[in-house]
Amino acid sequence: MSQNSAKPLESNEKIDTQWSHRWRSVRTKSGALSFTLIFGLLLTLALIQAQGFKPIPTVWEGIQYSLGDPTSIARTLAWGLPLCVAAIGVALAFRSGMFNIGAEGQIYAGAMAAAIVGAYIGPMFTGLHLALCIIAAALIGGLIAGVLGWMRAVWGVDEVLSTLLSNYIIVLFCAYLATSPLRDPDRQSGTTKAVFDSAMFAEIMPKTGLRSAIFLVVVLCLAVWWLSEKSTLGYRWRMTGESASFAASVGINVKRAQIQSMVFSGALAGIAGALLVTASQGRYWTAIGSGVGWDAVLIALIGRARILPTIGWVLVYTIMRSGARGVEQVSEVPAELSLILIACIIIIAAARAGVLYKVTGIGRRLMPKREGDVNGMV
């Protein structure tokens, strides 16, 4: 070792600065979050006032409806479960640089797979039947996303386009299945046979729709967080997403990382679809997803693809949606207004999270590349 000017810092000094560094980042993050929420709330009040309604009682109603008592909380949570799983799935792919905006399609495919396994196999032992439904959904979701990821990695087919377009193919194909070969003849068109009771999660709070699926979701959240943020596999994916050139030059197999993360992402979206059937609807019908996949993409972007912030934003979003539904039921405030408000809040959050920058990034990738080398030269 040569003598050098940089003297290594004392080790406890190092730990101190590390902690203060962390604490500072937590403070700025929570500051950003409360800024967004307070700003959104003010905007909400102003908009409701402008429409000639009483703002504070209306918002209070919404909060009461979503969080007022244990039943409300359970109902709100039940609604958010599939969204949560789908959102962390999308985030997982984003983290490795893959824009899986095909979550909606993967959710439909997963729901269809779960509905088929739930209705045509069995009845059997509940745990096993549920496991089969969920595995089937995860497999089909993972397969779809994996193939699209493989096309990206090997053929260079842009996954933004391919996943986007896959949504239409899958949703319409599932609609065909539900209206023709798998249609439940006893019901109106567009629904499949009800699944056996053994393929349903047990309700843990009566009349709230909250089922034991919540335990599965908590386990999935923890597992995905570990996978993405802590594990070696997650390290490879994150490095691939952060800087594919770095990953390639240190010997990470970038293509494999891209495909793997897409498989896991699709599997999670598939499981979200399975939850729509086995923890809620009990059968497949043509509009079962109702945009959960799109919400998931949005939330994963706002959460900047980090798993914990994404889960946090799922909670915020779920409470807002649930509150909006409550407002709609008890007051004259039109439903559209609440949607506008949610959109506003999301835009504020998105601006903070730099989503606009990401979207332009996608735009740039879709634009034909001209003058690229000229700019690169100077």
Partner: protein, 517 residues
């Protein structure tokens, strides 16, 4: 400065006691220097010495906290570059501010287009452009598309653009970084003509050789303050380096070491690959590197050196040819297989390839360690306790200055980022090390440290390929030099028996023996 031979005239620019803080960081502290008419004044200092901040203040890109700036005797305080331009201050940035798809003429007149009623008078524009070209002795087609010009021509255009706007004080930020020795000479000729015509030039550079060649006076900055202003004639590089670093033991000459050559480690045979967007392709490149040997690859940028590095590590596909390390063929091997064979790589663009720039320091360091982990550890913690102490150890052994391993790589200085990359690569105990521009944008202290690490590796029998655009670096460190031109190796010289001029000739494409001398 009392015995100054320069005429006793009022300076065109006088900076006195300028201080600028960013938060708790003092970027400039009580800086003073002056610029005389017709003078070329070099500003040198390590990264972070405050050169950039000072230039940004002079060019109106940031506002000083205290002190005074006088231009032709009157106090100014620019708040934006347009105000600086109005006062005749122009800046040539490291990255040119040109529109690549526009013509030379359009670029020159952009923003000050002649014509009436919002119409562009092409003829008047062409005339004014030709006039300023003639004055400067520059030949260039006014209708040429800028993106198609060479880098050197683009730089001349950038200078013309500034003069066209009436600048008489030119700030040049590392202007020679992108030029060959010959192009640098041409640029210096132009700068001298400008100075004779009465323009004053502030010349910022890392390369002391050039500073001594072009500058009348040299001002050294260190840690945000002016250390001293030297008359070029009255000083020598050692004195300037001592002022820059605060140490008087910095070695600027050849890094002497015991040459102890072993068997051939790396052999490259008839390597060819298709031209990628950013560089030339490779045509039948062959060479060998022995254990303990440092082979330099010189050449003007864009002649295949970057591609050669990428081909060696395996991030771009080969069209033909073979690469072997200790006789084991690797042309079809993946990056990780090559690395397992003992190849290590310090990439050219450390912010893109060298480290995860937005990732944490530990994420940049553990990559090599994780590569060797078996598949069943995929789901295990990527950064367990044992790795933590290993990372701590690396940080202190390679004296990487960082508050901790959890901070983002982007918060480290260039030199420390590069030490991080070198630490990771050398920790793998490579048998063959490929270095691409290892000291670009790195301060002198860190450069010396990195050189010592490289030499230590060769003492342990590592074969080193050093790709560098900096001829000084090649002359100081290597045993042999290969020169690349147009994707081929056009010369193979023993470093101690060649000269910079000879290498410069090769870099312009003259093949051994058929030189156009």
């Amino acid at each position: 400065m009392s015995q100054s031979p320069t005429r006793l005239v009022t300076p065109v620019l006088e900076v006195t006691g300028v201080t600028k803080r960013f938060g708790s960081v003092v970027a400039n502290s009580n800086i003073s220097f002056d610029l005389k008419p017709g003078e070329i004044h070099a500003l040198v200092g390590e990264n972070g010495a405050g050169k950039t901040t000072l230039m940004r203040i002079l060019y109106g890109m940031c506002v000083r906290d205290s002190g005074s700036v006088l231009i032709r005797g009157s106090e100014v305080n620019f708040r934006r570059p347009s105000e600086a331009i109005d006062q005749g201050v122009g800046m040539v940035h490291q990255h040119f501010m040109l529109v690549p798809s526009f013509t030379v003429m359009e670029n020159l007149t952009l923003g000050i287009e002649p014509g009436k009623f919002g119409l562009f008078d092409k003829r008047a524009a062409a005339e004014s452009v030709l006039e300023s070209m003639e004055r400067l002795g520059i030949e260039m087609d006014p209708q040429g598309i800028v993106g198609e010009l060479s880098v050197a021509s683009q730089q001349k255009l950038e200078i013309m653009k500034i003069l066209h706007r009436g600048a008489s004080i030119l700030i040049m930020d590392e202007p020679t970084a992108v030029l060959t020795p010959q192009e640098t000479m041409e640029l210096f000729g132009l700068l001298r003509r400008l100075a004779q015509d009465g323009s004053s030039i502030i010349f910022i550079s890392h390369k002391l050789r050039e500073v001594f060649e072009i500058a009348d006076r040299i001002t050294v900055l260190r840690n945000g303050s002016t250390v001293e202003t030297f008359l070029t004639e009255g000083t020598d590089p050692a004195e300037v380096v001592a002022a820059m670093t605060g140490r008087d033991d910095v070695n600027l000459g050849r890094m002497e070491r015991e040459s102890n050559l072993g068997d051939v480690v790396l052999s490259v045979n008839y390597l060819s690959c298709v031209k990628p967007a950013h560089d030339s392709g490779l045509h039948q490149v062959s060479f060998e590197v022995r254990a303990g040997e440092i082979v330099g690859i010189a050449g003007v940028e864009g002649n295949g050196q970057s591609v050669l590095a990428e081909a060696l590590i395996g991030t771009i596909p080969l069209a033909a040819g073979d690469i072997a390390i200790q006789g084991i063929p690797l042309a079809k091997a993946s990056v990780s297989e090559r690395r397992n064979q003992g190849l290590a790589y310090v990439p050219e663009d450390r912010q893109l390839e060298g480290l995860p720039i937005n990732g944490a320091v530990w994420e940049g360091l553990v990559a090599g360690r994780l590569r060797n982990w078996s598949a069943w550890r995929s789901l295990a913690n990527a950064f367990p306790k044992s790795s933590k102490s290993w990372v701590q150890d690396l940080i202190s052994r390679y004296s990487i200055r960082t508050p901790g391993y959890n901070v983002a790589c982007s918060s480290l200085s260039g030199g420390n980022q590069q030490k991080l990359v070198v630490a990771r690569e050398l920790e793998a105990q490579p048998t063959c090390l490929v270095l691409a521009q290892p000291t670009r944008g790195v301060d002198l202290g860190a450069i010396e440290f990195i050189y010592q690490q490289i030499i230590e590796a060769t003492n342990n029998g590592c074969a080193v390929v050093l790709i560098s655009a900096d001829l000084d670096e090649i002359m100081r460190l290597t045993d042999r030099v290969l020169v690349m031109y147009g994707g081929q190796i056009v010369a193979d010289e023993v470093t101690t028996s060649t000269t910079r001029e000879q290498l410069g000739m090769h870099m312009m494409g003259s093949v051994v023996g058929t030189g156009a001398a």
